[in-house]
Amino acid sequence: MSDSTTTQLPKDRAAEKGMVNVQIDGHWIQVPRGTRMIEACKIAEKEVPHYCYHPKLSSPGNCRMCLVQMGMPARPAPGEEPTYGDDGYQEIGWMPRPVIACANTVGENMGIRTTGDLVEKCREGVMEFLLINHPLDCPICDQAGECRLQEFSVEHGKGESRFKEDKVKKPKNVKIGPRIRLDDERCIMCSRCIRFMDEVADDPVLGFSERGTHTTVGIYPGRELTNNYGLNTVDICPVGALTSNDFRFQMRTWFLKETDSIDTNCGTGANITIWTRGNKIFRITPRQNDEVNSCWIPDSHRLSYTCPTDDDRLTACLIKADGVHEETCWENALDAAADALKQYDANEIAVIASARQTNEELFMMRTLASELGSDRLAIVARAQTPDEMLVSSDKNPNTTGAKLILDDKNPADKMDAICESIRSGQIKAIVVASEDLTEAAQLTNEDLDNLELIVSLNTSASATAQASDIVFPGASSTEKRGSMINVAGRLQKLNAACIPPGDARVDWEAIRDLINALSGEPSNDTPQSIDQLSEIITKSFDVLNDYTLSKIPNSGVTVIETGVSIPLIDRETARKATGEIVG
């Protein structure tokens, strides 16, 4: 047995697993057959600088930044047997000219050098060419700080240019869409944006025109980049050629703090990074998660976020006296709410939770309903037209979680009955959290006026908040920790990027305090922190598998099989299978 294994060559051992042996900067590693050289280098933790290559897009190989030196064993003459060295590998014959690492796949016994005179000289040359027409307006360019051109100039550039002639003038500050500005002088012709619009967004409005040094990225005449995924081109642009109107000239990136979280605008729960400075959100960018949103996010979701500094945020508890809301402190408001709710029988009260709440908050809502003795606990369903990409048909981010936590196959069903009871006057008091009933449920302002008591937890002065007798200020999704389960059954977590404005509290705390005010005496197992609450929840639901907030991985984990899939991810998987993209 030992004989057969010792005599086996490395290439045979690798072939058994469908791998090949590659020597990268002097070290042999095994990588799957068909891997791109650039990915093999990434596996070997060798950085290959690149602009045009993006794993989710096809590889045209037009930036030439990823040049590396490659070598293969000499081809044996007819009849000659290949010779193997002591280590079982053939001698590598190095090619005199470099190859691009992004569009070539590895082969057995291949050698790759990511450093060395040849490679460094190539990179220097490529950088010099790329910078010939670049305006070098880094002080005003929004990309500065996260610009590949800046980074690679420092790492691989020459430091000075030999180009003495005038730079080519190209269009600057072109409005190519309602949300995007294009600066052609900064463009380095990597074509990432063109390929994204063509391959992923399926709306090929961008393209190159002119030739040679005059090549210009432009929009198809008469068209605009209105696609709902257009802003992703800004993210993938390695330089500052494409900038978002929303973030343009707002803040330099190095001041911003990044917080990983998830998007709460639809059931997909796209992974995002929230960029904040102080307590102000400056932008939202997609965070890569190949199971949920790949590297993308719809513009509509990216641009709709609530910031603690917004004007319409509620910053204090309100109690309505003689039809006018008056600010008060939490103690007063909680006591008033508890006293008012105690005036009603259990069957006169309804609790309206929301599938926009986190699992933790939903659990507290359920506890609240049982404290009130009411079995009328419902959520508001919210549907929208899916776009067969990332936007789900469910506008609520946590419907799956609500079904699980409220232990109800369809908690939205009860909503109709509750609406009916409200109209008939059977329900006299409601507690509503994170929902605007006039907007989502089929209730009108008159219906709300019929009610004797509305206690609401809200972030902004919505119609429901206006009609409420007692309003608690809550936190928006960017201000709280918590977990949600998306339409595909994936448990993901939100992180707090900001702190709630003014007196506002994180929702679960507000609900907990209301429960305490109702019961009079807080019990010992009242959670004191969100982690404690999360522990209670994971103990109550086996499905959650002990995934407390701190244990949920950053990319989430699938806990429930819902049978729903995300169309964009399906397409990407298919393209990956055909080898069109690396994925």
Binding site: P139, I140, A144, D166, N173, F249, R252, F255
Partner: protein
């Protein structure tokens, strides 16, 4: 660390009594006081318009302004170029580098009908909190547009904290015009 053994000096009885040393010291200070009052101590009358008593300068009456060296770091201020364009493009590098976080900038886009629309960016608000500023000159050093300079003014006073915050208007008043530095934004580029 090597241990260094220090041998204590052997003191004579007179030195141990300590009083002669005290008296000697008193004599030294007394003689110095006499010379000081006569204006004969080193430094007096030599430099900086001194008052004649020691090296002290009588500040509001006598000032150092003529002797300020070129590298003197006084109040930081913004400058415009010869065509009255504000040099600052609001890159916020000074805000970033500022050790005591005295600088606060809110960037703004230049409207397209502005003659300098090509520059695209300028500060909407540029505040330097002089109660925080430590006059280190990092902002001047880091500025890629040569827009901020430490001037020779040093007498910054105010009656409130708000008074001590120099806003954009005041910064340009202090800074004035500097010519012939960056050509980047001219048509020549």
């Amino acid at each position: 660390m090597a241990t260094i053994k220090v041998t204590r000096p052997k003191l004579t009885l007179l030195e141990k009594i300590y009083l002669p040393a005290v008296i000697k010291g008193l004599c030294i200070t007394f003689m110095h006081a006499i010379r000081s009052m006569l204006g004969k101590t080193p430094g007096a009358n030599e430099n900086f318009n001194s008052s004649g008593l020691g090296v002290t300068m009588q500040y509001p009456e006598q000032k150092w302004d003529d002797q300020l060296p070129d590298y003197y770091r006084g109040v930081p201020a913004l400058v415009t170029d010869e065509e009255q364009r504000e040099r600052c493009v609001s890159c916020q590098l000074c805000e970033f580098i500022c050790p005591p976080k005295a600088i606060a900038i809110i960037p703004d886009e230049i409207e397209s009908d502005d003659p300098w629309a090509k520059v695209e960016k300028r500060p909407k608000e540029f505040d330097i909190d002089m109660t925080r500023c430590i006059y280190c000159g990092m902002c001047e050093e880091v500025c890629p547009e040569q827009a901020i300079y430490l001037r020779k003014d040093y007498a910054m006073t105010g009656l409130s904290r708000e008074d001590m915050v120099n806003d954009k208007k005041r910064l340009y008043e202090i800074g004035g015009v500097r010519t012939g530095l960056v050509n980047k934004w001219n048509e020549i580029k």
